[in-house]
Symmetry: C2
Subunit: 253 residues, 2 copies
């Protein structure tokens, strides 16, 4: 048995300190001690409470950030709480700006491609002309960090890019990121819109949600030198969608 040194004044310390702090904070978040959207105590306050250094607290907070419980920003008035990333995902965004950001830094999983003729409303939204033929690429999207949240994506691409789409399907298979592959230069984001809407039945069925679930509909339009490339609708449901499978729980730890 190693001799107890001055570092560990707590004999119950089996796990590292930052992990114990992390666990305590997770329990508090689950219990609602820090309401959703509120500010967490500052690092210095937490360090004082747990009688440890700021670094150790930062280590715990880093893991909470990775898990999506909190968001952090440099400067004052930081750290926004999201209680549980599985159940209250949409509210966990720091701002719409952050939601837009997250909607791009994601994994895109191809589902299927079909051709559509734009009607007036759709043409207006994606930036095309009514009557034009476009590709409609549907799929599913996992957001960072940790791939915890998910949404349904519909991307629209002008039919004149048929070669590119076909090449992607041939060579890349079902998994590819449209934008990264198509971007031959910097992209100007022409339009960003967001609306709260009821999910279309098609979307909720794909995501396995109850009919009529509510979602944030996120429209983005990208343009390169060649013209409008892609318009995408992301449907962010407010519900719980994915589960983590943790071996610790399976083993009853």
């Amino acid at each position: 048995m190693p001799p107890s040194k001055s570092i560990s004044d707590d004999p119950t310390a089996a796990a590292p300190r930052y992990q114990r702090i992390q666990r305590v904070l997770e329990e508090r978040l689950a219990a609602g001690a820090y309401p959703l959207g509120s500010l967490m105590p500052t690092e210095i306050e937490l360090a004082s409470e747990f009688e440890t250094s700021r670094f150790t607290v930062r280590e715990a907070l880093r893991h909470l950030t990775d898990r999506g419980y909190i968001t952090r920003k440099q400067g004052m008035g930081t750290r926004v709480v999201s209680t549980d990333p599985k159940t209250e995902y949409v509210q966990s965004f720091d701002s719409l700006e952050e939601l837009f950001q997250i909607a791009v830094e994601t994994w895109f999983v191809f589902h299927e491609t079909s051709k559509v003729v734009l009607d007036a409303e759709l043409a207006g939204r994606v930036g095309g002309q009514a009557g034009e033929e476009w590709f409609k690429v549907t799929g599913v999207r996992w957001t960072q960090p940790g791939g915890r949240a998910i949404c349904h994506v519909q991307s629209y691409i002008p039919a004149r890019y048929a070669d590119a789409v076909a090449a992607l399907e041939d060579h890349e298979g079902p998994f590819f990121s449209l934008l990264e592959r198509h971007a031959d230069g910097p992209i100007d984001e022409v339009v960003q819109e967001i609306r709260a809407v009821a999910m279309p039945a098609e979307i909720s069925r794909t995501l396995g949600l109850a009919n009529g679930s509510w979602a944030l509909q996120l429209l983005r339009r990208y343009r390169t030198a060649g013209g409008v490339l892609i318009a995408s609708f992301n449907w962010h449901p407010a519900d719980q969608l994915t589960y983590t499978m943790r071996i610790e729980r399976l083993r009853g730890a």
Copy 2:
């Protein structure tokens, strides 16, 4: 313009140091400077090379670990390289033990369910009797961290658990983790096998790979108090399967 302090002796330092170190190391990995499977230089060596502290190097290495480029272990003879997590994923495992671990801590995305009658070989592998009816649940699996790798999964569940499977499909929709939902207590892992095989055409098609791609086939059998619950085959391809979409690159940063 802030006055240049003693900290930054490098005027080209726009990004934080650890990010620059991270970038340099990533380039080296991509260029093959550190061969696959080899040991990276020690933290102290890197700190000496980059003329910084061990702390800063650790910060860079932490990000490389998060991205799946390297694995780390406490003690001597650590850090195994995997050059590029997109292309040479399978070799990046530190050990088979780690592969087994990762195969559980994943996202499971449901694909479809069908009934099968076990033949002799399959019965022996999943732990059932030839002629029994089982459910075959196929899907796709994203591994942690970061959801970078992917594999095809076939799970087998005895037909006597039909109620549980039906309930999952009804209430949970296409996304659920079988084990977490079924486990009413600790799980004993009865069998763990691994083989290098050519992918069946069905699997490679689903994953969008060329016919005849090689994969590691990973068999696991779980047992609870109620008997054998689930047997699963994970097909880990050695190929590139997913892409990250990063807004920085899109903007030409």
